[in-house]
């Protein structure tokens, strides 16, 4: 599979019609692994990095799960192609700006990806639309086991998997979900939720991880601790916290409908009107408007079939995807024009909101 084929194919997250989950948009697990007797990527010399890259590219792309997928040296991708992979949550921003000698393997269905020589030799990731820790864990566990038959992992019986950064030591697992929490944001409760989640040992980040903002009221919530607990224990603990957040979001929605329904309808109606008629939309505003439409779908104001449209647009309205449709490199201002065009076209097909259906 070539990169342009991969880009042309829908990402796992652009087809969420199957996912009826109102709050959890995506479940993701990544494992950090390193090869024994090889220096971590940050300390390795160019030749050592290339050696690891060669071994890992070969081993990972030979896995059943990765068959007919993409396997490339990062430096063979253009900036725009890398940007698109970041926007699909398949690789990290750090990998794009890292040293040479790094690589990427992505499964054909875009649900599994492995970064080679990012912070660790191997960063294995599996993601799925919706709230699906069991399925995701089974998949990544199988990939991890299969890979372990081919390469010798750096492992300490006492500490567990060794990683470049001590915060990942042990299970080296990061389990996370991408959550859509518009009612908690609108009602000003998000700060309180973040504080509580942090106290429970979980991290809350924006859409594209650490340091990114939460446009679209989308948050990534993940475990912080990797040591002293089994993978299953970590996922169970996280799931408990996530269920509480889901409940709080649903309560907040109920309160909005009870107390300030017209204010909410006004927000959703305006979002629809602007998406259908705007000519200049930056990506932050687009995300926030799409978020209100997604909330409208959850409330029954728009048909459930529109969820797949909105979730696809959350990704397609990112700068790299907007850029990609266009042959020439576009400036931010031109991208806002192209984004407006995309959204007008898509929303011309979305019927008007019907608030008489709003869930009470």
């Amino acid at each position: 599979m070539k990169i342009n084929e991969l880009i042309a194919a829908p990402s796992e997250l652009t087809d969420t019609a199957a996912s009826k989950s109102a709050v959890v948009m995506m479940t993701r697990i990544r494992l950090a692994r390193n090869l024994a007797s090889h220096p971590f990527p940050g300390w390795a010399k160019e030749a050592q990095r290339r050696d690891v890259l060669g071994r890992c590219l070969q081993a990972v792309s030979s896995l059943t799960q990765m068959k007919r997928g993409l396997a490339v040296d990062t430096s063979d991708l253009s900036e725009q192609e890398k940007q698109i992979l970041v926007e699909r949550h398949l690789i990290s921003r750090e990998l794009c700006h890292g040293k040479g000698g790094s690589g990427i393997v992505i499964s054909k269905d875009q649900s599994c990806s492995v970064m080679i020589n990012e912070e660790d030799h191997l960063r294995i990731q599996v993601l799925r639309a919706g709230f699906q820790f069991k399925k995701v864990w089974n998949t990544i566990n199988a990939i991890d086991s299969d890979l372990e038959e081919q390469v010798d992992y750096a492992f300490s019986p006492k500490l567990g998997y060794l990683t470049a950064c001590p915060t990942n030591l042990g299970t080296a697992i990061r389990a996370s979900t991408m959550m859509h929490l518009p009612a908690l944001v609108i009602s000003g409760q998000m700060e309180k939720v973040v504080r509580a989640v942090n106290q429970l040992g979980m991290a809350v980040r924006g859409l594209f991880g650490e340091g990114s903002d939460a446009s679209g009221s989308i948050f990534q919530i993940s475990n912080q601790t990797t040591l002293g607990e089994s993978e299953e224990g970590i996922i169970k603990h996280l799931t408990g916290v996530l269920n509480t957040i889901i409940e709080q979001e649903l309560n907040a929605r109920e309160k909005l409908i009870e107390g300030e329904a017209t204010k909410l309808y006004d927000k959703i109606g305006r979002a629809y009107g602007i998406l259908q008629n705007g000519y200049l939309l930056n990506s932050g505003e687009a995300m926030n408007l799409l978020s209100l439409i997604r909330l409208g779908i959850d409330l029954g104001v728009f048909a459930d079939s529109q969820r797949a449209v909105v979730d696809r647009l959350f990704i397609e309205c990112q700068p790299g995807h907007i850029q990609h449709g266009n042959k020439k490199a576009a400036e931010a201002g031109q991208r806002d024009v192209l984004r407006g065009e995309l959204l007008r076209t898509e929303f011309a097909k979305v019927p008007s909101p019907d608030f008489s259906n709003a869930a009470k």
Copy 2:
């Protein structure tokens, strides 16, 4: 004619389909007149005011132009009814809050109105949609002459008509137009224009006269001087200034289209989207959105037939009119809901903007 009949009938300004004028929405002239040998209203005792009111009501309502119109003591109208007359530019805010013994006569077609015992004994006004000083002057001149045959005006051969406030002395004429100047506002040139107009001896005010704001980019421009020049001279001088402003507004529109067409389309498109889908609109926002639609009509983005709709809504979205549709007294917040309902209903019938028709 009773007040409820008058309110139910369209105002002169709610039917501007005939007026193709893009910039001048309304032309208006008012004359201040006082009866000889009677103290000005502000100095008169209650009984003297009542005496003047009786004489004037009788004299004014007997005029041909006022036949079958409304003739009432102001105190016989409810607050809401007075508010509606203010919003139709038929009476002043000052009259509503004034002392007792004042009255109103309005012609059946709502183009002529006479306030009795406002600041002066008589404030005669004629208004017409569009830029029509000749027609308006001929009408008001005839009313003035006819009235002079019935009452004895306070007049000094040296000073002209005597008025309660010295700024009106002489011709006691105020000629004004209501101008729609969105491009001058958008391009930040309005302050400069106001300064220049003031230097030419003209006044610039908001939609409802002195001290009101210019929501909807609507300004009233009128003469300041009433002494030392004939009525025709004053109107000619004002017309010259207005023509310059029209030219500047049209130039500003051309520049917006040339330089920042997409920004302008974005503003107009969003305005349309919000009017079609908003649930809460205060009157200031509604005016500003309608202003953008009116600009769109001038640019050919919407059909010319929509001008009558927008000009009607400029008046119907004012608080008194919104309130009137509703039986119970509504608070500002409830009025915003009712305004949203009115605008959504009206704009559901307005076809989408077509920017391929935008005038260049």
